[in-house]
């Protein structure tokens, strides 16, 4: 029996139940998604973009699914500690794939802004859903996206109406919580209408010591003249596997910054597809991964310049220790006519041990003749000359290595446009390198 079969059977058997615990606008695309899922199957390492992460294997284990939306007990205290201190955010929780509306921030969002359950939103805004839901995330193009669209029942909506600036950063904490091995299918829809501005921090945590497999599909629509920051911070556990597919569409003069940081995980595959569809749009696409033991981090990105005057700046850095495996696949595509495109793509990696493996594949496809593009990747070890210099000043080898690794990832942290988060990350990264962040367990390290 193929890996897919149990999911095909499951959907056939529970179709009604899945639909009845979701929203009409989400159900409308389910059949098409199911058809595409059956056609595509889960991606295997035979596909170029999944070459170093065979995600089909992840689905072979037996996971539970919370199809009938059973309430999951949670201690608010355990998750409350996780706020990034010194940073006043509007804080929300998502429990597995369920928007948790029992704890809501005291300060309300500006008028018209929605942050809440995607399912609830879909019930009341069918017109918006019809326009945006599952449009960027094409189910016929990726097996995981097709699967997620087939099974997704809830998630998060961020909707910022035209011209509204959300001053206070929004923080969402994804909490994985279960007594049995669990498969979570989360859906996120972010819509910024023309001129809107918002900043979003999303933290992934796992409370329980069971196996979690999370699939997540995120769609971001950035209208004209929008400014949007999204920081994703994963601090889960060795028992967590995460597959995230993010799709971003940017209209004219929009400015989007995405920063994806894998601080602690099991196995992670993040895919980010950014389309610059309006002139003068800018994307800053950043990421960092710190991995050791048997951890695995794969970032697959594509920036599609479809129109003139787009700019993109991409930087990913990995520090791999022990037997960790990293993969970076980055494609920048400049379509015919996308003149005056300015793009810089860089991937730099440190393999601290001989057993750590890094696969780097930066790519440029240019079909326009008046552009400025560059791309490059490096894989190396810590600078021996610098190490010795530091040791000769009395800094122990361990401490010297730490300082160098810390300096290495600083470049990515420095792209963050939230001062308090930047400071917090300096601390978290230092703890990570010192081995003090060795498990997430109920967010104790944030307290």
């Amino acid at each position: 029996m193929s890996v897919e079969q149990q999911y095909i059977d499951l959907f056939k058997q529970y179709r009604e139940e899945i639909c009845s615990h979701s929203a009409g606008a989400m159900n409308q695309v389910r059949d098409k998604a199911f058809y595409d899922f059956q056609t595509l199957g889960f991606p295997t390492d035979k596909l170029e973009k999944y070459r170093h992460t065979d995600v089909s294997k992840y689905f072979a284990s037996n996971y539970g699914l919370n199809i009938s939306r059973v309430d999951i007990p949670v201690t608010p205290d355990a998750v409350f500690n996780c706020d990034v201190p010194n940073m006043s955010t509007s804080l929300y929780f998502v429990l597995n794939d369920l928007f948790y509306n029992k704890i809501l921030p005291k300060v309300s969002l500006p008028e018209g802004v929605v942050l809440g359950s995607l399912r609830d939103f879909a019930d009341n805004h069918q017109d918006v859903m019809a326009k945006y839901y599952a449009k960027l995330a094409k189910t016929e193009e990726d097996g995981v996206t097709a699967y997620n669209t087939t099974f997704a029942q809830d998630g998060v909506i961020l909707y910022v109406p035209k011209g509204v600036v959300v001053e206070r950063p929004i923080q969402i904490i994804n909490v994985l919580r279960s007594n049995v091995d669990l498969l979570v299918n989360r859906r996120v829809l972010i819509i910024l209408e023309d001129g809107a501005q918002a900043r979003l921090l999303v933290c992934d945590h796992a409370i329980d010591k069971v196996n979690f497999l999370t699939t997540q599909v995120v769609e971001v629509y950035a209208g004209r003249d929008t400014v949007f920051d999204m920081y994703e911070l994963e601090e889960t556990s060795e028992m967590c596997k995460r597959i995230s597919n993010m799709y971003v569409n940017q209209e004219a003069d929009s400015n989007v910054l995405l920063n994806n940081m894998t601080l602690y995980n099991g196995e992670t595959r993040n895919s980010t597809l950014v389309t610059l569809s309006g002139e003068g749009a800018h994307i800053g696409l950043y990421g960092m991964a710190i991995a050791d033991k048997q951890q695995h981090v794969d970032n697959c990105t594509k920036i599609d310049h479809t129109v003139p005057h787009g700019t993109s700046h991409e930087l990913y850095k990995y520090v791999l220790d022990d037997h960790a495996v990293g993969s970076f696949f980055g494609l920048v595509q400049v379509r015919p006519g996308a003149q005056k495109t300015n793009s810089l793509e860089t991937n730099k990696n440190l393999c601290v041990t001989k057993d750590a493996r890094m696969y780097a594949q930066p790519q440029l496809i240019i079909n326009a003749d008046d552009v400025k593009c560059s791309h490059g990747a490096t894989v190396g070890q810590l600078d021996e000359a610098a190490l010795f210099y530091m040791r000769s000043r009395g800094i122990s080898e361990r401490e010297a290595r730490l300082l160098l690794m810390f300096a290495f990832v600083n470049e990515v942290i420095d792209t963050i446009r939230l001062e308090a988060l930047k400071e917090r990350l300096h601390l978290l990264v230092e703890k990570r390198f010192r081995g003090e962040l060795n498990r997430c367990g109920s967010c104790h390290k944030c307290s």
């Binding site: 610098a386 010795f388 000769s392 009395g394 800094i395 300096a407």
Partner: protein
């Protein structure tokens, strides 16, 4: 303070030092001169424990301890300091962080509490003045984007921070203009006490006009071939090294 006996060392299997004997007492300044490739920098590298060099024979005793058994960081804690001929740039590591870690690790080694932030900044300010090092540089990454002169001044600043008992200045004069040379040399002299010693490795007499050596050695082909008073440096400046090569029967 330092006693080197029959020291042999090689790099990549090639023997560079072929039997060095050298004794340095507290308060002394020794100059080591010699033509290119004679082994001067190898000697300094071996003393501070650069892992690229392998000691094949001989012994080095520093303050009664077997120096060769100590890790580079322990040698530093014991009071050995090398001013690098080519100071290393470390992007992303700030001078402040670098020095604070170094100073506090040394304090820890000697059983002292780490300095508080304000104590440390006061110490930085005080020591910076010795070599006239700009505060701007102190806030930058270690040596990154520093000019040649600034790098050398930064070496002496670090020396001031760490208060070594034996300092090795490896061609600290190379690449310095007259003013920078004077600042660096004056810095070294200010740090000099009757308890501390110094090895000055140089090609030229000019640094020795500022830092007066008690003893001058000529290193040639991995051995010390001549040892005399300060007048030897003057003679080398005038006559070059050929006469020494003749003296030992090489030419």
């Amino acid at each position: 303070m330092l006693e080197i006996k029959d020291l042999h060392a090689s790099v990549n299997g090639k023997e560079i030092l072929k039997g060095i004997n050298l004794t340095i007492k507290a308060g002394e300044v020794h100059a080591i001169m010699g033509p290119n490739g004679s082994g001067k920098s190898t000697l300094s590298s071996v003393l501070v424990g650069n892992p690229a060099f392998e000691v094949t024979r001989g012994s080095v005793t520093f303050k009664g301890k077997n120096l060769l058994e100590l890790k580079p960081e322990e040698r530093s804690h014991e009071g050995l300091f090398l001013s690098f001929q080519y100071p290393v740039e470390i992007p992303g590591v700030s001078m402040v962080n670098f020095m604070r870690t170094a100073v506090n690790e040394k304090r820890k080694y000697h059983g002292l509490d780490p300095l508080s932030a304000s104590q440390f900044l006061r110490l930085m300010r005080e020591k910076r003045a010795i070599v006239d090092l700009d505060n701007r540089l102190a806030n930058r990454s270690v040596n990154e984007g520093f000019s040649g002169g600034e790098k050398k001044r930064n070496e002496i600043f670090q020396m001031a921070m760490l208060e070594p008992v034996l300092s090795i200045l490896d061609e600290t004069d190379s690449g310095l203009d007259i003013d920078a040379l004077r600042i660096v040399a004056e810095g070294v002299n200010k740090l000099k006490t009757s308890e501390t010693s110094c090895i000055v490795i140089t090609h030229y007499q000019r640094l020795l006009d500022y830092i007066k050596p008690d003893i001058v050695h000529v290193l040639y082909d991995g051995r010390i071939v001549k040892t005399a008073g300060p007048e030897l440096a003057m003679e080398l400046e005038e006559r070059g090294y050929d006469w020494i090569k003749k003296e030992i029967g090489e030419v």
